[in-house]
């Protein structure tokens, strides 16, 4: 009896410590500078541009990820083939890759002297130090978050639903659009939100591959770093916006996961 009370007290203390450690920095962002100060700091040159660039590039990256990643994930979820585990591991690799390593890898591949950089340049596309390069970096690091969620979502669809659609005269394409995607929607939604959150926070790979040119490749996280030395409040203000946006994304993940109509991927 006594020992179980002692354990519970210890566990409660551990939880309180964890919460405090995680919450204090977040609270500090909003307390360090007053709300008015934060808002006026956003007006600082470059801050709004950086946020706007982050929004645009991350959404462009997400568009690429969804358009390419959704059918690819469907294929991986539906088919069993030799080497499938290897393919999935490759797709998941950027999850654990250090961002700096990812940036260097992108340079080595798509940079001017990179593996396929020449071909890309011949096609008239410039990536390094360009906004397009930011999109490439974000796509690289964020894609696995979406694709992993999408594979799991498609795998959780009852295979009989796919079979039923086929017997009712729908080809693979129509079945994918009308049965698989609606069935996987909650998982696709939360995968999207996670990938978007990762893309918004991307720092290392973007810095190495696209640089930090104001107005062109300087996304919000890069701007936070850039402002740090010169204008701490502007850094704080940008960080505050990112915290709010990230929290909203996390919330949406939870909401998607709940699938309120009870017709989620699990049913």
């Amino acid at each position: 009896m006594r020992s179980s009370f002692a354990f519970r007290a210890l566990a409660t203390a551990a939880l309180a410590l964890l919460l405090a450690f995680l919450a204090i920095p977040l609270v500090a962002i909003f307390v360090e500078a007053g709300p008015g100060e934060l808002i006026s700091s956003l007006g600082r040159e470059g801050a709004v541009e950086a946020l706007w660039l982050s929004l645009r590039t991350s959404l462009m990256a997400l568009a690429v990820i969804v358009v390419v990643g959704t059918p690819a994930a469907y294929l991986l979820a539906r088919r069993r083939f030799r080497g499938r585990a290897l393919v999935i591991t490759l797709i998941e690799l950027p999850l654990v890759l250090p961002p700096a390593a990812a940036g260097i890898a992108l340079l080595a591949a798509f940079g001017p002297n990179g593996l396929v950089g020449g071909a890309i340049e011949d096609a008239g596309i410039r990536l390094v130090l360009e906004t397009a390069g930011v999109v490439v970096a974000l796509t690289f690091v964020a894609a696995p978050f979406y694709v992993r969620g999408a594979i799991a979502a498609f795998e959780s669809i009852d295979p009989a639903l796919i079979d039923a659609s086929r017997t009712l005269g729908a080809g693979e394409g129509r079945t994918f659009l009308r049965v698989a995607i609606p069935g996987a929607r909650p998982g696709l939604g939360s995968g999207f939100a996670l990938a978007w959150g990762r893309a918004l926070g991307e720092f290392g790979a973007t810095l190495f591959f696209a640089g930090s040119l104001e107005g062109r490749t300087q996304t919000a996280p890069l701007a936070i770093f850039e402002f740090l030395a010169r204008d701490f409040n502007a850094s704080l203000a940008l960080a505050a916006v990112l915290v709010v946006v990230s929290a909203a994304l996390l919330l949406s993940v939870k909401l998607f996961g709940r699938s309120p109509d009870g017709l989620g991927a699990a049913s």
């Binding site: 009989a160 079979d163 039923a164 017997t167 005269g169 729908a170």
Partner: protein, 356 residues
């Protein structure tokens, strides 16, 4: 014009081998019956094109769906099958009528909706057409699945354990309704079930499947009367007699059998029923005054005697066919040969009655 199904399928998955030949006439329903793992569902999937046989051919009349020798393999979506899946596989995000309209191949959206609602109404689901599958009961889901399978105007109807997902109370009604739909259908139908009684009620012919092969194929009563192997004998289980039930004196249910004869059961029931009794519960004796505790006595004529091991299945003609299982010794002692006139007796307590 509906045409007959002719299929030969050979398919191997690991240790399991399926090898069967099946023919189903237009308007006919054949049941594949066997224990789980016998390959019933795989056979159905192969007919639909959802599983790919190594060798074989599937044809509906002159329409060839599969011919591995000629390299013909029509895609699932082009085969025109109506498939009722085991758990119905209704699309969860679509209302009942949208589920039904999904497979319609002609007409405008509005026409399709009207037709879908009409077919649901025909199955007593007019007011459930806008409900999603999650809001429907098991029996309602089964009817939506049936309506959906038929709405695509199929050339072949495939039913995979269509009643297995239903509770006992719902099953009787659903089975009667399904029998009605199958009776009206002019296309060949293949039904898969592990329940011999269900197959006997729904199918014209039963093919018993054991480890991927058809071990015997015949009309339900003939199969029960003359099983070729002990496996078939055990599987055929109860003999089913149709009749009309009413409550009698002394608290028993009296069933007036279609075609004549009257039996009693301890199960409560009224109206059209299926009465079932296991062949090994039926006792055979020379005709004479009844002795003992059995309440049910029918004069019968022996039509066949099939011995397997130390027992024999005796096919009997009463107004409705039934079968008894007795020891080989009794066959000799009673002189059971085709044409012998004897009496079949069994207890009211061994008689199960289910409403139809």
């Amino acid at each position: 014009m509906a045409s007959a199904l002719q299929a030969e399928i050979a398919l191997a998955r690991g240790d399991f081998e399926l090898d069967l030949r099946i023919e189903v006439g237009a308007g006919e329903c054949v049941a594949l019956v066997g224990p789980s793992g016998a390959g019933k569902s795989t056979a159905l999937r192969a007919l639909a094109g959802l599983a790919r046989p190594e060798r074989g051919c599937v044809a509906l009349g002159s329409d060839r769906w599969l011919d591995t020798q000629a390299g013909v393999d029509v895609a699932v979506e082009d085969r025109r099958v109506g498939y009722v899946f085991q758990e119905y596989a209704l699309f969860p995000a679509m209302s009942a009528w949208r589920n039904v309209a999904y497979g319609m191949r002609s007409g405008s959206r509005a026409e399709q909706q009207a037709r879908a609602r009409e077919s649901l109404a025909g199955l007593g689901l007019a007011d459930r057409a806008d409900s999603r599958p999650a809001e429907l009961s098991g029996g309602e889901r089964q009817r939506v699945a049936l309506a959906r399978a038929l709405a695509s105007d199929p050339d072949l109807l495939l039913l995979d354990e269509p009643l297995a997902a239903l509770d006992v109370q719902t099953r009787a009604g659903a089975s009667r309704e399904l029998a009605g739909v199958l009776g009206e259908a002019s296309i060949p139908a293949v039904l898969v079930t592990h329940d011999f009684a269900e197959a006997a009620l729904l199918a014209d012919r039963i093919a018993v499947l054991d480890r991927g092969r058809i071990v015997q194929e015949d009309a339900p009563a003939a199969l029960a009367a003359a099983p070729r192997t002990a496996f078939v004998a055990d599987l055929t289980g109860a003999v089913v007699l149709r009749g009309v039930a009413r409550s009698g004196d002394d608290g028993l249910t009296v069933v007036e059998l279609d075609g004549g004869g009257r039996i009693a059961s301890t199960d409560p029931a009224a109206g059209p029923v299926a009465a079932s009794v296991f062949p090994w519960e039926i006792e055979l004796d020379h005709r004479g005054p009844a002795t003992g505790s059995a309440l049910n006595h029918l004069p019968v004529v022996v039509t066949s005697v099939t011995e397997f091991g130390n027992r024999a299945r005796v096919g009997l003609a009463a107004p409705q066919p039934l079968a008894a299982e007795v020891t080989s010794a009794s066959v000799a002692r009673l002189g059971l040969v085709p044409g012998a006139e004897v009496e079949a007796s069994w207890k009211a307590t061994a008689t199960r009655v289910t409403a139809l």
